[in-house]
Structure formats: structure tokens, C-alpha cells
Amino acid sequence: MAIRLLRLIAFLIAALAFAVPHAAAQTPDIPALVDALGQGSFPEREAAINALVATGDERVPPILQALADGNLYLRKSDAKVVLAAKAGSGFALTNPLDGADLGPAAKAEIDKIKVNNGLRGKIRTAIGQMTLLSPDRTTRLSAAQTILKNADPAMRDLLDKALAAETDPQIKSVMELARAVIVLKTDTTIEDKRAAITTIISHGDRDAQTVLSSALADAPDELKPLIADGLATIARNLQLWDIAQNLVYGTSLASVLLLAAIGLAITFGVMGVINMAHGEMVMLGAYVTFVVQNLIATYAPGLAEYAMAISIPSAFLFTALVGVGIERGVIRWLYGRPLETLLATWGISLILQQAVRSIFGANNRLVAPPSWMTGAFELGGLTITWNRLWIVVFAIIVFAALQLVLNRTPLGLQMRAVTQNRRMASAMGIRTPFVDAMTFGLGSGVAGLAGVALSQIDNVSPNLGQGYIIDSFMVVVFGGVGNLWGTLIGAVSLGMANKFLEPYAGAVLAKIIILVLIILFIQRRPRGLFALKGRAVEQ
């Protein structure tokens, strides 16, 4: 322990020695400092990082980034710190300072230099300090955000310099906030602090709230009312945004419910088949996405960004074919016998689950999101994630396309004719068995499309479908059997109700309340929101 302490002190002294401005006569021994990263415990590594940062050398940020990303390794033979990239079964080594090739190494010859969350945070701040004046906009923005997170008073001069040069309004606003936070932390006049607090309040977002609530305890007494008022203003402001945010969440959940239920609206709503295997069609769609993605990765890596686009028709066709197979093979023998249909399709769902489990294994499969579906963006006080936004768009497109098919194509006309009056349709020369198969295929294909979307937000596992079957039935029954608009309204109201209840009641209770409400509703209106009228319904 004593030796460790001594070593730490030695490091600190070294760090101090190098902390002199770069104008100093002697140039710091950067290679030695880099090699120091490979030694010792986490606190010692932190000292080594600080020493490196103090050099202000431009080669340092990429090295620190590599350390944070876990690409820096210690070569056991000579205790040198190297940059390693996977190459075959071993690693290819390069010098982190000049990128010189150091040849290959086996896994046993090198040790990864570990970082923990604390160090990763330190590295992020250090990189932030060193890149605040970077010409690249995104680098500068993330640098400003890290400075805001840590708000180190030592950064004030640098920040002033950066602020004077900054032209981008978004970065400027983050920098101003960061500067205000720093001012609040330093010993300045009350007036300066008051101005800083006003700046922070005017930002009015979650960051400002965090900053103010942590400043409240240490603030001078005369400023406390101002901060408390500010916090109240921000809270009111955020409350409005919260409602908007709930609307966004509700829309997103509604789109997922709509996608999952709309196929069922066709098979159950239009055809009257209680299809318990509907969830498995969704699951198959997700697996088709997985297979397509892997085939593309193996045979045409150039198309990787389009994997999702290619999955959409593939999943539709595959699940539609499976659907037609099920209809021709099983369901058509059971028309008019709902109980048997229910049991048979339940059996099919179990068979499909176990088949997928045998082929792909029980583990979750990874469907990597394309880059345009990752992350989130801020819109005022809202956070909107890209994947959910695209799913909303996708759901709207699928809904519109289905409306077109049902109302504007001969197949749609025949489907509606067969549902409304099978015998009359048959007498008019419509091949009702063919229409039945096509309708079931369409419903299943749409479920497959839902699977493509769900592969982005849920597990791709054999159990995927089970989580959605109950919700789908609820949406269809609530919206009114046999009506796509009813399904849309059903999905939207269930999604919204769920998301507005959740913050107050919790997820478990919210689900129960919704279920009870639906049961009560069905008691009043057994045919759902939008009931079909006409003679066909009475049969």
C-alpha cells in the first residue's frame, strides 16, 4: 500500500512538473507519459491522464479517445502501451503516437488497459477541454456539453475565449450556460451571480433545472429566493413539455399497437378468424429481417444500410406465404367453428415458436439498427428517438397502403364482398376460397411488416409475438371488428391512455386499468367503437 502511495505521489509530482505551460523550455516526454497509462490502479491511471492532458499536445485527444473506447493495450513483453485492432484471431498493433505499424500480436501477449465510468468521465472532460476550439461543429458541441456537465472553474478563461469566437447559436447557448454555471461556483460579486442565475433560468430546460437545484444549497441567502423562483418557473415550463412528451410517447406506442394489430384487424376483423398465431407472424417477420441482414452482411456488405428496406418486401412475402399455407392447410377446414380455430391456431403458434427456437436457438438475435435509426434529437423540450419516429412513419404508410388495397383494388373489392355476403359474392362468380386465402395472406404479410419494425425496439426471440397478441386483440375488439379506421382509433386511444396513465399509476397498474376500462366498454358496446352495420353482421 505504501509503495502504491509513493508511486501515486511520484505521478502527481510528475504531473505537476509537466503542468507548466507549453512555452516551458523542456518538452514533455509524451511517449513515457503514454506508457504510464498502462500501469497501476485506477487512481494512478487518472494521474497519468491528467499529466497527458497538461501537455496540451494535439496528439493526446485521439489517444485518450482510444483509451475510452478500450482500444489501448499494454504489451506484456516491454510494458509499452500500444493501439490494437482485431485482425483475424489476434491483434494488429500500432504506435498510438505516430501510427507506426508494430506488427501482429496474439491475444495472450497484450492486456487491455481498463477504464471505469469515473475515468471515462474524466477522459470525456479532458477531451472536451482540448477540443473546445476545434473547427468541427459536432466536436465543439460535445466539448461544450462536457464542460457544462463538469463546470470546472479552471475552464473559465478558455470558455470566454471560445465564446468570443463561437458563431453557432446552439453551441453558443450551451457555452453561455456553462459559463453561468461556472460563475455561480466561483467567488464573485452577488451581481455577477444574479446575472448568471438569470441566464440559467432563461434556458429553462432539464440541464438548467439540474444546475439550479444543485446550486440551491450552497447559494448565498439573498440569492435563494431568486433560485427557488427560477426552479418553479422551470418546473412549470417543463410540466407543459411533459404533456407534449407524453403525446409523443403515446403516438409512438399507438404506432406499434397499430402495426401489430392491423394484420389482425384483417384476419380477425374482416374474416372473423380468431388467429392466435398472429403474434408468431410478427415474430417471423422479425426473423426474416435478421436473416436478410445476415445474408447482406455475408454476400453484399455494400448494401448494409439498405438492409431494412430490403427486409420489408421479404418479410411481407414470406409471412404472407406462411399465412396462405396456414389458411389452406388448417383454417379453411374450420370456418364457422371458432373454438376449434382458436385451438388449432394456438397449436400452430406453439409449433412456429419451437420451430424457430430449433432453427435459430433460444437466444435473442441481434438486428443491428441502421445509422439513421439510432439516437435521438431534441425538439424544444422534447426528446424524440429516431427509431420510434420512423416506426410512426412506417405505421402510417402501412395503414394508408392497406386502405388503398381494400378500397381501390379488385382484390379489396372482392374481400369486402365476401365478408359482407359470402353466398351472394360466390353467386356473382367470385372464387371465395381464393379470396379467403389472399385475405389471410394479406393479414399475415402485414403482421410480418410489423415484425420488421419491432425488430428495432424489441427482442428478436421466439417469444416476441406473445407480448403483442393480447394487445392486438384489445385494439381490434375495442376499435370495432371489421373496420380499419376503428383499429386506428383503437390503437391511438389505447396508446395515449397507457402513456398518460403510466407516469401517475405506474406501468403495472396502468395496464390493469386499461384492461378493466376495456371490459367495461365492451359491456356497453359489444361491437366496439365503430360497429359494422348491416344484415351481414346479424348472422
Binding site: 471515462r120 437466444n363 427482442n459 426471440s461 417469444n463 406473445q466 406501468a507
Partner: protein, 431 residues
């Protein structure tokens, strides 16, 4: 005349071969071992691997010459993630197949379901999964972690300077028995450590929950109160992937709000892109990335057995490995597979952990195990950032006021007690 001897020879050879093939069964020359893991249904995702692990361990033992001079024979049944079926299949294994011991179960519900069967037919269950504690039975050896071997050290780590000095806690959980009990213990523990109640938020979600937008936003909001915030997750299997996907998409970084999970291991991460999750934590008694000679050898022979270099290893696998080897050692010590003799022999036995150190069977039928905290890496593996000395498993948590002074002692299986009040020296019924 050359033909007859040849036919005779052929017959003799055939008979010998048939005898050879069937002899072990007729001669009762094998010891049967029951494997009770779901191979279908929702739990297959986790339990199938354990079934493979048991087959692997049994094959390895047979290569070494079996046990007591006999070969081991696995009897695999599929309880299909159906809790009552677990009890039925357990009865079948013990009563019909006459297995010497059973290795199995994952969920606490399945364990509770088979308990009466094991008591009635007096057999041994080796249970390889971390669980909520509050139980100690004569017929069960718990080789996974009790709460004090996983949850509490994880919280301690987050509270420490190195773990980020977390002051505000979100306990995010799936709504069933394991998270409920664990959270009860953790809440009490945090309060004992001086965390004010307004800095603890407990949230439950249903099984298989997939829409985490509101919950993740709530965590973000809870974390904006100016104190360092951490999340302790007891979210169950399937709900984890959408939870972590939402975390990554809403940009919650481990440096800002770390999430420590007790049910997320290498297997669960296999279905996720972890580049945006680097630094989130898991607490286990084992990680695949542990760098010890025992672990390297174990992983190599596992990959050889399963013929797939990509298959991960995880904590319950190590627990199954320890349970199996401790059982083998106990049978060898007792010289018989008789339940009471084995239970008497097993207490106090030790076997090397894959993570270094040894696992010892305690009188309360739990093991001593080191606790490891790992951070998720971009390749889906964990970097170990903290490792404790072996911690003895505590069946009845000392944190809960109602369990203070309660111990379990099965040193003698016939007179042992699972719920012993050390103050009054009375053996009460478990609540």
C-alpha cells in the same frame, strides 16, 4: 463345414455386442443424474444453455472415469416453462427414473413448485441461479448468489468513490417475487446507510414489458435533481433488450447515470448492440472475461463440447459447474449416492471457483463466492472493475429487521433447521 463355426462366431459376437450395449442398464451400472431445465417456452432462452452445460459436465466426468466406478447417465426432461409441470417432471425424475440428484430450475416460482416433491421423496436439488434469498431447505443446495452476494456489494460499489459516489437511487424492476424481495432488502439497506426516502424511487413494470419510453424519461428526470444518480435494475430477461435499447437511444450514458443489473449477463447482451451501453454495470460471481487458468480451460473445453467458438459462458453456468463438482466430491466422500449421506458429506466441502479462490458449502446450503462488478464493453463482454474476497451466502438477510439473528444450519441433515432463531435457539417455521 467352415460355414457353421463362422455363423456361430457371428452369433456370439452379435450377442456380445448386444450385451455390451445393454449391459449397463441391466446391471444398474450407471448413476442417473436428473436435468430439469425448460427447453421450450419463455424460459428456454436462459435454461437451454444450462441443460447443455450439465450434459457437458457429465460427459467430462465420464471421461475422467465416472463416479464410484460407474458411468453417469443424464436424464433430461423438459418442464416447458410451466411451473406446475416442474413439480410433475421432478416427481418423474425421482420416482420413475430413480436419479441420484437433480440439477435444475431457474425461476423462483419453479423452485417453489418443486420443493414439496423434493421434501416428500427426499432427493437433492442443485439450484444454480442467483435468487432473492429468504429460504433454506434441507433438500436444496443453492449454488447461485444470495442477495448479500450480489445486490448489496453492487450497491456498495456504486456508493464508493470509485463507483461514482451515487447518492440517489432508482430501483427499476419487473413485478415478481425476486425483484420485490431484493428491493425490500435494498431499500432497507439504503435507508440504513442514510439515504433519505425521497432519494429512492422504486418502479415496477410487467413481465415482458417493451415500451420503456416513459420509464427511461422518468429516470432521466429523477437524475436531474443535482445529485449523482444510479439505477439498480432487477428487470427480468426478455424486458432487458428494449430497456437498454431505449437507454441507448435516449442517450443515458453510464458516466452520468450508471445502471447496474443483476440479471443481465453475456447471454442477454448477445442480442444487443452494446456500443452505446459501454460502462453500464452488472454484478455477478462470474464473468466470461475473468482471466484465470481455470476459466480459460473451462471455456476451451466448453467450446470443444458445444462445437461453437461463439457460445458465451455466464454466471449460472459457473454455479452449475460448482454444484455438479461439489456433488461429485460429496458422493465420493460419502461413498454412496444416498441423499442423507451426501447432504451430510457436502457441508464444508470446497471446490475451486473459476474466478480464483474456492467455493465452500456452508451449513445453510449456500456457497462462499467472490462478487465481481463488470462494465459492459462494446464487444458484449464485461471488463471487471471490482472484485471482492469470497462472501459467505446469507439465506436470511441481516438487513431486514424481521430476519435479524435468523440463521440456517443443516450440518446434520436429520436434525438441521432452515430457520433458526439464534437468540432463542428455537427452530421456527419459515414465514
Amino acid at each position: 463345414m467352415t460355414r457353421l463355426p463362422r455363423i456361430a462366431a457371428g452369433l456370439a459376437l452379435g450377442a456380445a455386442m448386444t450385451m455390451g450395449a445393454f449391459a449397463p442398464v441391466f446391471a444398474q451400472d450407471t448413476i442417473k443424474v436428473g436435468v430439469l431445465h425448460s427447453l421450450s417456452g419463455t424460459m428456454a432462452i436462459s435454461e437451454t444453455t444450462l441443460k447443455d452445460t450439465m450434459l457437458f459436465l457429465i460427459a467430462e466426468q465420464n471421461k475422467k472415469g465416472g463416479l464410484l466406478g460407474k458411468q453417469l447417465e443424464p436424464v433430461v426432461v423438459d418442464p416447458a416453462s410451466d411451473w406446475p409441470l416442474f413439480a410433475e417432471k421432478a416427481r418423474e425424475l425421482i420416482a420413475v427414473d430413480k436419479v441420484a440428484a437433480v440439477f435444475g430450475c431457474w425461476t423462483s416460482s419453479s423452485r417453489k413448485s418443486v420443493l414439496p416433491v423434493f421434501k416428500e421423496l427426499n432427493s437433492i436439488l442443485f439450484y444454480p441461479v442467483q435468487y432473492e434469498g429468504e429460504e433454506s431447505e434441507k433438500n436444496v443446495i443453492y449454488t447461485g448468489a444470495a442477495p448479500n452476494q450480489q445486490a448489496i456489494p453492487a450497491v456498495d460499489y456504486l456508493m464508493s468513490e470509485e463507483g461514482g459516489a451515487v447518492k440517489r437511487w432508482v430501483l427499476e424492476a419487473t413485478d415478481y417475487v425476486y425483484p420485490r424481495t431484493t428491493n425490500k432488502i435494498l431499500e432497507q439497506y439504503l435507508k440504513d446507510k442514510g439515504v433519505p426516502p425521497e432519494d429512492i424511487k422504486i418502479n415496477y413494470t410487467p413481465f415482458g414489458f417493451s415500451d420503456w419510453q416513459t420509464e427511461v424519461a422518468a429516470i432521466k428526470e429523477f437524475g436531474s435533481a443535482g445529485k449523482k444518480t444510479g439505477v439498480v435494475s432487477t428487470i427480468n430477461g426478455d424486458a432487458n433488450v428494449p430497456f437498454y435499447k431505449e437507454l441507448a437511444n435516449q442517450g443515458i450514458k453510464a458516466e452520468d447515470i450508471p445502471v447496474v443489473a443483476f440479471s443481465v449477463g453475456e447471454e442477454e447482451l448477445a442480442g444487443m448492440d452494446t456500443t452505446n451501453l459501454v460502462g453500464h454495470l452488472a454484478a455477478w460471481n462470474y464473468f466470461q472475461s475473468v482471466d484465470t487458468p481455470e476459466n480459460t480451460a473451462f471455456i476451451d473445453s466448453w467450446h470443444g463440447f458445444i462445437a461453437n467458438d461463439k457460445r458465451t459462458t455466464n454466471d449460472p453456468m459457473e454455479a452449475a459447474y460448482l454444484g455438479f463438482n461439489l456433488w461429485v466430491a460429496a458422493v465420493e466422500k460419502a461413498g454412496t449416492t444416498d441423499t442423507d449421506a451426501v447432504l451430510k458429506a457436502i457441508v464444508g466441502l470446497s471446490y475451486p471457483n473459476l474466478t480464483g479462490g474456492t467455493a465452500t458449502v456452508l451449513p445453510n446450503h449456500h456457497l462462499t463466492k467472490p462478487v465481481l462488478i463488470g462494465e459492459v464493453q462494446a464487444d458484449g463482454q464485461f471488463d471487471i472493475v471490482s472484485q471482492t474476497e469470497p462472501v459467505p451466502g446469507d439465506a436470511w438477510s441481516d438487513v431486514l429487521p424481521e430476519d435479524k439473528g435468523i440463521e440456517a444450519d443443516w450440518t446434520d441433515p436429520l436434525t438441521g433447521c432452515g430457520h433458526l432463531d439464534t437468540a432463542t435457539k428455537t427452530c421456527g417455521a419459515a414465514p
